[in-house]
Symmetry: C2
Subunit: 456 residues, 2 copies
């Protein structure tokens, strides 16, 4: 632990400078005009892994954005850790809500501010630096492989196929990921569950052109009015999703596990204050953390149609659109849900409109048992670096690819996240506390150490 | 009738050229960046009225866009016709749906294509040319006054006050307006009723920033989900508006009048084909023309919130917005409804969001009895120029200022509209058949003739 702290201390500023170089690249995977930035971000990662001490690293093509792969094999007999992360980030709109330029990172109030500061450039880069630390201090106890992709924020559409193709190259004992959060810097936690996801775009078409709302209003179905009714019908007054069959595969969590999860300190009042609401809303009979951790959810992520400009335009629009998503719990199959929703949503459309549902992406949920060796090693690492036993938690977020790894590569993942809820990932003013960044770099080598011991 | 036809024939091309000059000015009243174009359009009208033979014409200031006023007083003993029209037009989006440039008018398939071709530059300009015709052929039987405003498409916010200020100047026996439609070029009609209007913008605010839909989804109210439920609750399964008290002042139309209105030939099938729908939707128990003519309606004219870009962004947005309008029937008070909606919509909001309702504009409905002298004169004019007795109809559209004229100036209006349903006003590819343009110029002088006779 001592030499770890010393090495970090001696290289603090350089670690930050190198991360900033990555943060300055606007690698937004959902926008086609940012394609060239994906290539730049991948190259940056390749160079970083090589500089850190990898035997080799390369930018490899996929059906979509390239994947960065690098490795250092010190002894075939030793266990192998496969580090997964992503270099792509979310879009930045609403841009006017940012207090700084999203791709011009700065340090303020002890935090790194910028898109990707946490998710996932900041967290993934901790692994490059922890790897460097182990190499340079001759303490690397395992073989290491890096797999850094560029399509996580759009559901990793190409990575499954890429893994399929490179199965042998990717052989490992555990996949190590930092793309989740912890309860607080004083309260380390390990994510043992992730929600799955299904995401659609719906298009409701009424008349073949925008109509005058006075001349036609009242006689012709208005696609916005109709879409509103269709969306409204998807949830009931108890906050349950009404789609027939939606809950069929949802596993009810036992009283015991619910009690264990409830150990994580949580204050509804502080939670509400942090997001500026005076009342919460969700499924009846479940706590806030249960609503996001062990229960599915239904959210409209975007909606548009008709006149959005200044003033009053009296129009009965031709079309209305929405981006709709559900978060799923482990054991719900996102492909089954994707088909179920399309069928259901089209079935509830009145004959006066046409409805088209397009599935945009999806992923399975994931669960990691706490008696699992890698969990034990991670627990030891946190105890040593934080002086506290981490609490197992379930994240409401999704990393669809995690369950895909298990299916294709047959390798489980351990989610050592160092982000905080206040990091505002996917939102304006994303940030990452410098302290968490360094704590991550210190904790990761300890995981390698204990994982190697357990695996002996 | 003969010399009317001859004069029109001899000046056909010039009439069009002069109208095109007006159509080329993008005088969109709802967009502040188009302010300078309002001034240009007003000047163009002033010159047109003078050139047509007015004693005087001027661009007069108002609290908003200027009003063009002109007059020719030939004999104080003769009746005075006050022509009302507007030089402002609707916005042009969705611009990509236009087959031509909205402000570069062209002739194609016997129609004038461009924003304002019908509403209301094309129709109002007929009066300038009919006036010219009467002056140049020495057949002007009445005094004439012109009042052409630049804010009709945003609800004429300044004209009421302007009329108040210029009451004496505007003294007249009848207000003559061409800003409505006719059943078909073979089936002249006179609009005897207009719907009123109330229009709001609503803003629903949930969390103080966009949130990650995975981490927060299910525990925090999503403003789009909430807005959808609120909008959905505004109408029931019979297509009736659920707002308490909304129908209190709606006058049920007698069987007799409904039968008379039903005389207007109307084919649901052709109507559906013209707008590309296979099923209609509206208030139970009423025909299509009744749904737009004698019943109020509820339409969301625009909605937006969250992510509208390419791909899938998993966000739980901070805000959702909608532009909401109701069409009102005569005897419903738009101000009463405006307050009623704000109170109701804010009252149905769950405590988990903040809702703000802003009234954007409104206007009263209007009714014109068919035994009214000006109606009789108009009827005679149509019979002579079309060889057919016009059918009285009720328009679903609103010209809020018409009822305001009655209140402030104490003058009734006669609505001689020459537009067709296919003119696509307020929509992409607005157009106006040349034949209707010339027919209007021929019919208007006949109205003056018979109105002068009746008033003797």
């Amino acid at each position: 632990m001592e030499n770890i702290k010393n090495y970090v201390e001696a290289n603090k500023q350089r670690f930050l400078d190198e991360l900033f170089g990555l943060l300055r690249i606007p690698s937004i995977s959902s926008l086609s005009e940012n394609k060239p930035d994906m290539e730049r971000a991948a190259q940056y990662w390749k160079d970083a892994i090589l500089a850190a001490g990898a035997d080799k690293a390369q930018v490899m093509p996929s059906n979509g954005n390239p994947v960065v792969y690098g490795e250092k094999i010190i002894n075939a007999a030793l266990p192998t850790v496969l580090v997964y992360g992503h270099y792509d980030v979310m879009p930045v709109d609403p841009i006017e809500k940012w207090n700084t330029k999203p791709f011009e990172p700065i340090i303020k109030d002890g935090k790194i501010w910028g898109r990707g500061a946490d998710d996932d450039k900041g967290q993934a880069f901790m692994h490059a630096k922890a790897f460097e630390l182990m190499v340079k201090t001759n303490t690397l106890p395992c073989n290491v492989k890096f797999m850094i992709e560029g399509e996580e924020e759009i559901g990793s559409p190409s990575l499954a196929n890429w893994c399929e193709t490179h199965k042998d190259m990717l052989k490992a004992d555990i996949i190590l990921v930092s793309d989740t959060g912890m309860l607080s810097i004083d309260m380390p936690s390990i994510t043992t569950g992730l929600r799955g996801l299904a995401y659609w775009q719906v298009e409701v078409t009424g008349p073949n052109r925008d109509l005058h709302s006075g001349i036609f209003g009242g006689a012709v179905a208005n696609p916005i009015n109709v879409l509103a009714k269709m969306i409204a019908s998807m949830t009931d007054q108890d906050g349950r999703i009404t789609m027939p069959g939606f809950y069929d595969d949802v596993v009810e969590i036992s009283k015991e596990e619910r009690a264990m999860l409830a150990k994580a300190p949580f204050d509804d009042q502080r939670y509400m204050e942090s997001i500026g609401v005076t009342e919460l809303m969700g499924e009846k009979g479940y706590s806030t953390t249960e609503r996001t951790g062990i229960r599915p959810s239904f959210d409209v992520c975007g909606i548009w149609g008709g006149y959005e400009g200044e003033g009053a335009k009296t129009v009965l629009p031709s079309k209305a659109f929405a981006k709709i998503s559900t978060r799923l719990v482990p054991n719900q199959d996102h492909e089954k849900i994707a088909v179920m929703f399309k069928k259901h949503f089209e079935s509830i459309a009145p004959g006066s409109v046409k409805v088209e549902v397009t599935s945009l992406h999806g992923g399975q949920g994931y669960g990691c048992p706490i008696d699992f060796p890698a969990y034990q090693a991670a627990e030891k690492a946190y105890i040593e670096s934080f002086g506290k036993k981490p609490i197992p938690t379930r994240s409401g977020g999704s990393i669809p690819i995690i369950s895909t790894f298990e299916q294709i590569l047959g390798i489980k993942s351990i989610l050592m996240g160092f982000g905080l809820e206040s990091d505002a990932i996917h939102s304006p003013n994303e940030n990452f506390p410098i302290e968490n960044f360094y704590k991550g770099i210190e904790t990761i080598p300890l995981f390698y150490k204990y994982f190697a011991e357990i695996k002996k």
